[in-house]
Symmetry: C2
Subunit: 221 residues, 2 copies
Amino acid sequence: MPPVRRPRRPSQDREPETLDRLLDAAEPLFAARGYGGTSVRAITAAAGCNLAAVNYHFRGKASLYREVIRRRLRAMREQRIASIVRTMSEAGRSADVELLLRSFTLAFLEPHLDESKGRVLIQLMSREMIEPHVPPHTFEKEMIEPVQMALTRALRTIYPRLEARVARRCIHSIIAQLAHVVQMRRMPGFERGTCGADFKFPGVVDHIVRFSAAGLRASLS
Amino acid sequence: MPPVRRPRRPSQDREPETLDRLLDAAEPLFAARGYGGTSVRAITAAAGCNLAAVNYHFRGKASLYREVIRRRLRAMREQRIASIVRTMSEAGRSADVELLLRSFTLAFLEPHLDESKGRVLIQLMSREMIEPHVPPHTFEKEMIEPVQMALTRALRTIYPRLEARVARRCIHSIIAQLAHVVQMRRMPGFERGTCGADFKFPGVVDHIVRFSAAGLRASLS
DNA sequence: TCTAGATTCATACGGTTGTTTGAAACAACT
DNA sequence: AGTTGTTTCAAACAACCGTATGAATCTAGA
């Protein structure tokens, strides 16, 4: 039975424990093939451990998946929020929309410049949004709302007259464009074809910043 | 073996043929549970026919799925393009951006006002974009590019100076927002929570039209 | 009415799935 | 050494999967 956790080796630098190897091995597999498409056997084979390890360390496949998601949700949320507050504090009272938008855009898209790790992350999240396997509202509570909150506060520092509802809608418009870029870049063979070039850096960043800044100002009145 | 198709009943109004019942039954199942998550047995049970019917009428599960997707792709593409050309021809030379944007936004979101059929459609397409089971570029060739083409032409009728590349990027920004709305409205329990109200009609339509029109004009220079 | 082809049906096959089990291996403490 | 509790392992389990098969059923034309 899965017992209470107790560290076996008090403090020693060894190879990662089986539990962590499982999480690390499961993540790219879940991302590439989805929850149902990934077998426990494939995970344990990639982690180099026994089939039963998943049921020993986690209670089963479902619980392992939830842990993979939660781990990533936390990391992404903190990276994005940190980028926002850093930009605002560095810029001080000379902060403007373009700066904030560019900074957030780069923070959002940065993980995907690296082909290997970035794709994994987004595929994982896209799948989870379409077919949730974590408790409902987890995504909303742990990701959307906190980031919304930080961005809204930053925007209203720049535009004090901006209504909260309007601010949230604008943020949705911005995040929608970023998510779209990520989604499109992920499509098979997106580099070729007509629309592949539309999402190349840094052109796409410039476009989103300009488009959104104008949209935002138009939403002020 | 799957033989050459020959209409059995020349002209008669009977209940739908097994082949069509299979397509109709498979669609919501594929949408709700994905390709791998939907069993042939579940499909045939829903269609009220025998398990082997899938292998008889189609060559197997994969081929049935492709037909479901292709059928919907064609319908959506034609609905959207028709909406664009109708708007432009009705407005004549008095067409402006707001009118075009509002018309396209409504055409895009209209299927999702109806809870039942709309969700099915989008879930199906979202899944297919994340985990393609049709030949590569099918989506791009049969959906994205034709709609892009029609919208670009319409936009350049209004703004003759608009560069093609810039036009495409703006269209991506607009479609991104629409897809985001659809995605958010699909999340479990989206009506409750902070951001649920942000996507209510007709507020969200007004916002997208205003935001995008401004972004478009800013992209002109 | 008879025949030929199209369509349905119940059933079976081989393979993969998540989970369970009981024994073996391991580390730490008396 | 001996004991204890944690972790790994090979093997087996029942359930489900997509597909194949051959007989039964049905429809249309001769």
